[in-house]
Amino acid sequence: MVKEYLDKYPRNPARTLWLMKPVAKVLKIFFKTIVHRPVTILYPYEKMWVPENFRGRPGLRFDRCVACGMCVRMCPTACIKLVEVPDDAGAPVKRPQVNLGRCAMCGYCAEYCPVDAMTVTPDFELAEYTRRDLIYGPRRLAYDGITEGMEIRIEETLMSDIARGEPERRVSPFMTDRPELLASKCISCKKCEKVCPVDAVKMVEHGVNEKGRPILYPEFDDVKCISCGNCIADCPKDALTLKEVL
């Protein structure tokens, strides 16, 4: 290998022509400059092209969101909050609200959204007059334009797949990881059923206890479950764990 600069430059024979070189250089740059197009744009009237995967402010698809709170948990700056708003039919539902004054545009909310409701948008002009205006409610957060790079999906490869010789398979943790019950700890409080955003938990009776009350254990619908981890976080006795497929 050669050193591009150190080998060439300090012994450059052109340096002996010290008088001609600057003149030639200036002329070259002069002609280059009068020929090529302007490199600047008239910003408010013209806009720069942004690529499809540009990470601007977060956007929300209102109808897809299930209020699982994954974005709230993953946000590194804690700028997302679930607030109650009426949906299209008027019933109160919880949807994320983003404080863009604190948003770091990292795209984690879109990446870790199990239902692709949070997206990144190419919207970057976010100047407002007050800080209060920077708080984007769920309706204002909505962004309907759809481009390919907007919804970020986690496409991971399992280590077991590589060992098996199938390195081309891609999974997302929301497809593979499911909560698992340690039945000896469960007290049949039904909290997991209540907090599940997609109704994937069903309490199933497993006989009665000595007081005559029914013993209920949660059963998880693997198809409906999005592995948001709400049931695990809310379990009062830590009977649930997330079983990670690796």
Partner: protein, 381 residues
């Protein structure tokens, strides 16, 4: 006493005796894009003593990491140094991967290398721009920033953000290279290899630059080793050590590149080392992109990793654009680190400011200190 001396001076009988004076340079600087103070004791025009004062940008980074789960620290690691965000994120991911004991897919390694080298080039260009303004040449600043813009666009094309990229992930990288990325990289790099000569000519052909840089900020090889200086500042002093070559991480042992080492030990040799490093980075990018293309489209680039790191300790070091950066992770088996220590190259390099500026003229101080490429985000953490 003072009156007596004044009288002596006035009559011109005795030699002039001047008081030593402390000049406080900073925290707002002509020569660095962060807040730090350099107290310089001057005797006339000659600097006799210097003392760096840092800590204006302390954010409690290491403590804050203890309250976050492992993936949430990645965007924070970006903000350690805005000019080298990719390398710090990469370093953090490598540390956690080492603690987990997993091996990253080949494709992810090469993409990370490409990202790192893009980051190195744009960081060095940022430094070149800063040197230009320190020495009063705004053209160098503008041209270097113009070249840097192409690499920022590459970052944008790769991961959707220009500066705080949030790109490497524990177990791989965030996304595969986008469709035309390899074409864009090659175009950009080939263009850069020609265009940077304009900026080099501005500096190397200018006697103002050369007289400021040659023979100033001199350190011997022994001093450099004893002070713990790393990075281009060390290689400009004749120490032949580069972690990419001598303790290779990722796939740096599978690409061919040269480590520039110069023995002069002054500011100019540090400048030359950095310029040569940019060319070598271009070479690494080209080779790594070829390897990425050879691996095919469907090669895995991101592994699924457990959210909990087994209890233990791990550390990893890497060649940052500024020197050797290291992260030391102590894990207690939960999904949050127990302790995450960052060794920042600049924190150590800035402690060498006294031997660097001692004996030089006060007007040379900005360019001498610019040659260690201060970045305060990582220094103060």
């Amino acid at each position: 006493m003072a009156d007596e001396r004044k009288l002596e001076c006035a009559c011109g009988a005795a030699p002039m005796d001047t008081d030593k004076m402390w000049v406080i340079m900073g925290p707002q600087h002509p020569f660095s894009h962060g807040l730090w103070t350099l107290k310089a004791q001057i005797d006339g025009e000659i600097v006799t003593d210097a003392e760096p004062i840092i800590g204006y940008l302390h954010r409690g980074w290491e403590k804050e990491c203890e309250n976050r789960t492992y993936p949430k620290i990645i965007p924070m690691a970006d903000r350690l140094c805005y000019a080298a965000s990719m390398t710090y994120t990469h370093l953090y991911c490598m540390t956690v991967e080492k603690a987990l004991g997993i091996d990253v897919p080949e494709k992810a390694k090469y993409i990370r290398m490409v990202a790192d080298e893009i980051c190195r080039i744009q960081s060095h260009l940022m430094w070149l721009a800063a040197v230009g303004t320190d020495l009063g040449n705004l053209t160098v600043f503008l041209w270097a920033m113009r070249e840097r813009e192409f690499f920022m666009d590459l970052n944008l094309r790769l991961c959707g953000a220009r500066m705080t990229t949030n790109f490497p992930r524990i177990g791989g990288v965030r996304n595969d290279t986008t469709e035309l990325f390899d074409r864009d990289v090659l175009r950009c790099v080939e263009r850069f290899e020609k265009a940077i000569w304009d900026v080099i000519a501005l500096v190397d052909d200018s006697s103002i630059f050369l007289s400021r840089m040659k023979g100033t900020g001199y350190l011997t090889r022994e001093q450099c080793v004893n002070l713990g200086i790393t990075g281009p500042a060390m290689r400009g002093n004749g120490v032949d050590f580069d972690i990419r070559r001598d303790d290779p991480y990722d796939n740096y042992d599978k690409v061919d590149f040269e480590v520039p080492v110069l023995k002069d030990g002054d500011s100019y040799s540090r400048y030359m080392v950095r310029i040569e490093e940019m060319f070598q980075s271009c070479k690494i990018i080209k080779q790594a992109m070829r390897k990425v293309a050879a691996l095919g489209k469907n090669a895995p680039y991101r592994l699924k990793v457990p959210s909990r790191v087994p209890a233990g300790r791990a550390f990893m070091r890497m060649e940052d654009p500024r020197g050797e950066s290291l992260m030391y992770l102590v894990s207690d088996g939960t999904d949050k680190p127990y302790r995450l220590k960052v060794r920042s190259p600049i924190f150590v390099n800035v402690s060498a400011s006294k031997p660097l500026v001692q004996g030089s003229r006060i007007a040379d101080v900005p360019v001498i200190m610019a040659m260690i490429d201060m970045c305060l985000g990582e220094t103060d953490r």
